[in-house]
């Protein structure tokens, strides 16, 4: 159950006009109209915290604890003090490549980055306020529409930006003050390494890989949803997921571990399982690596972490019901359990832990992290 105090999305009945716009936009059927009273109710257990209802409510009756108007504006005001009159780039974290690539994509340099889970949660009001704050332009990077983890977020952002650009043009902001671009992060195949074993074909939930003729596997990239499961199942290192390449994650691990204080706790987290706050500070014992899905959690990287001196590794994923991919988190849980069994053979029992969390519960992840930290502290540091 979600803790009342830190529930992620809340509807204030006092302001609700019962227009049902939120209900019609919710991709997860989490908003209901009570038959007898006509009241609009958020079923938080179904809510995936995309923020679409928050951004769309004309009465501002819905509130969220993540990336709401107030926190985004204060983040931008802080950023603007450092870099006056720079463009703002709002990116969905589901499809964001390197910031250098983002620069190239929009042909802007030195921008204020704002990474959010789903650009569908950015309201008209926020975009207009930002325009009035004197930024040089607003750039929005959304997922391809059929890649959107929240189904309706990316199409909604398109419609919203189209309408706002018309409005801003009338006000003298130029024809396209807000620029929308799309991106998706998908699998890459190195055919020289492929051994045609068919593991990717077996595991892919979307039937993207095909192994029909000699000469290695072919991927239907339109079908690929970028979960990364095939990448960790490939025995030949022939597959990579864009922006989440194996070497890149390994390099990040070797960079993070030395700057931590013992007991060192590294977290591999599905980026949809918990949302980082815009001004969050981490304890020196803890570092986070957000991954596109728990199924991209790789035994290689967990072992990298331990070999670089981690005292504990936490894998935080969505529950199987909340998984934005096809049951990928269940697969990840089994892989972690298997690796945990092997690790316990060599004295590393209870150092690897898997938890399911959800952003709907604002404290969910932090509580699990605290419990695991305590457990690792009690066990003491490894050599």
């Amino acid at each position: 159950m979600v803790n009342e105090e830190r529930v992620a999305v809340r509807l204030d009945e006092q302001y609700c006009s019962r227009c049902s716009i939120c209900r019609s936009l919710c991709p997860f059927d989490a908003i209901k109209k009570e038959a007898e009273t006509g009241k609009i109710i958020v079923d938080i257990e179904k809510c995936q915290v995309c923020g679409i209802c928050y951004s769309a409510c004309p009465a501002r009756a819905i509130d969220t604890i993540y990336y709401d108007y107030g926190s985004v504006i204060s983040y931008l005001e802080n950023a603007k003090q450092k870099h006056a009159r720079q463009p703002l780039v709002i990116m969905c974290k589901g499809s964001t490549p390197d910031l250098a690539e983002v620069e190239g994509l929009f042909k802007v340099s030195n921008f204020i980055p704002l990474s959010v889970p789903c650009v569908g949660r950015i309201s008209d009001e926020l975009l207009l306020t930002v325009a009035g704050m004197g930024v040089e332009g607003i750039y929005v990077l959304a997922c391809d529409e059929d890649y959107c983890r929240f189904d309706r977020g990316s199409p909604l952002a398109r419609r919203r930006i189209f309408a706002l650009n018309r409005l801003l043009a009338q006000l003298g902001y130029g024809e396209e003050f807000i620029t929308l671009k799309r991106n998706s992060l998908k699998v890459k195949v190195d055919k020289d390494r492929c051994i045609s074993c068919g593991n990717c074909v077996f595991y892919c939930p979307y039937h993207a890989p095909k192994l029909e003729s000699p000469g290695g596997v072919n991927f239907d990239l339109d079908a690929c949803k970028g979960c990364g499961l095939c990448v960790v199942m490939c025995p030949a290192f022939a597959l990579e997921l864009e922006h989440w390449e194996r070497e890149r994650i390994s390099a990040l691990i070797s960079k993070l571990l030395p700057e931590m204080k013992p007991p060192k706790l590294l977290v591999f987290r599905c980026q949809w399982a918990a949302f980082p706050s815009l001004d969050g500070e981490l304890s020196p014992n803890v570092r986070l690596i957000d991954l596109p899905c728990a199924s991209r959690v790789d035994a290689i990287h967990i072992l990298d972490a331990f070999n670089n001196g981690a005292d504990g590794v936490l894998v935080a994923a969505c529950s199987e019901e909340d998984c934005k991919q096809e049951k990928a988190s269940g697969r990840a849980q089994r892989s972690v359990a298997k690796l945990g069994g092997i690790l316990s053979q060599i004295g590393y029992q209870d150092r690897l832990h898997f938890v399911s969390v959800a952003p709907r519960n604002g404290d969910g992840f932090n509580k699990e992290l605290e419990q695991f930290s305590q457990k690792i502290k009690d066990q003491g540091a490894k050599k």
């Binding site: 074993c197 025995p235 030949a236 290689i300 331990f306 690790l343 053979q345 060599i346 590393y348």
Partner: protein, 213 residues
């Protein structure tokens, strides 16, 4: 495919503990999942981790071969990689291990796997079952494609024994009765007469230990 299972890590650690520079050699050949480059690298990481707790520092290199049992491929592919290596830890089946040991007699070659059988994976994945004992006298044509040597717990050539309950073997309730499977398959093909045919005891003389291709 040839089905192998990794030895317990402590056993492997004991095997490699006299050496420091170790080459882990995977095999992309017939095992499922392939014991390729990923397994080689992962095993190296695990042994490094386990070695550290025992105060032992290893240097592992990981590589893989297309088919470790192919002596031509293995000789040419492995030769440039074994220089300065004290021991080779092989992820292949027993045949691969022996191939490397024979090709590089001066090298210490250690098995990381226990080789179990020739078999296949069920459709759901996760379970591997023995399907062929290499008897040298294949009778699958008579039995509708079900091998009674491997699938009948008693290895009966003229079944069924009568001990099956609900299609499952009396020895183990999660094992199908091979002879009931054979009956069903033959029935579907309209070849039930096959079952009346008497099959004499296995002729061990036809089992070859070497063949000229």
């Amino acid at each position: 495919m040839i089905v192998t299972a990794q030895k317990p890590l402590n056993e492997i650690l004991d095997l490699v503990s006299p050496y420091s520079k170790i080459l882990i050699v995977g095999c992309d050949g017939c095992t499922q999942p392939p014991r390729g480059l990923r397994e080689a690298k992962t095993l190296g990481q695990l042994l490094e981790l386990g070695g550290r707790l025992k105060g032992k520092d290893f240097t592992f290199k990981a590589t893989t071969l297309v088919k470790q049992c192919d002596s031509f491929l293995t000789a040419s592919a492995l030769k440039p990689q074994v220089e300065g290596v004290e021991a080779v830890l092989s992820l292949a089946c027993g045949i691969g291990v022996q191939t490397v040991a024979e090709l590089f007699p001066e090298l210490v070659v250690l098995p990381a796997q226990n080789t179990h059988f020739m078999g296949m994976e069920d459709r759901e994945g996760g379970i591997l079952e023995e399907r062929c004992i290499g008897c040298g006298d294949c009778l699958l044509a008579l039995t509708g494609g079900v091998c009674p040597f491997t699938r009948c717990a008693k290895g009966l050539l003229n079944g069924a024994c009568g001990g099956a309950r609900n299609g499952k073997c009396e020895l183990s309730p999660d094992r199908y009765c091979a002879w009931e499977l054979i009956f069903e398959r033959l029935e579907k093909k309209g070849k039930l007469d096959n079952i009346r045919e008497f099959r004499p005891p296995r002729n061990y003389q036809v089992k070859a230990w070497r063949l000229v291709p």
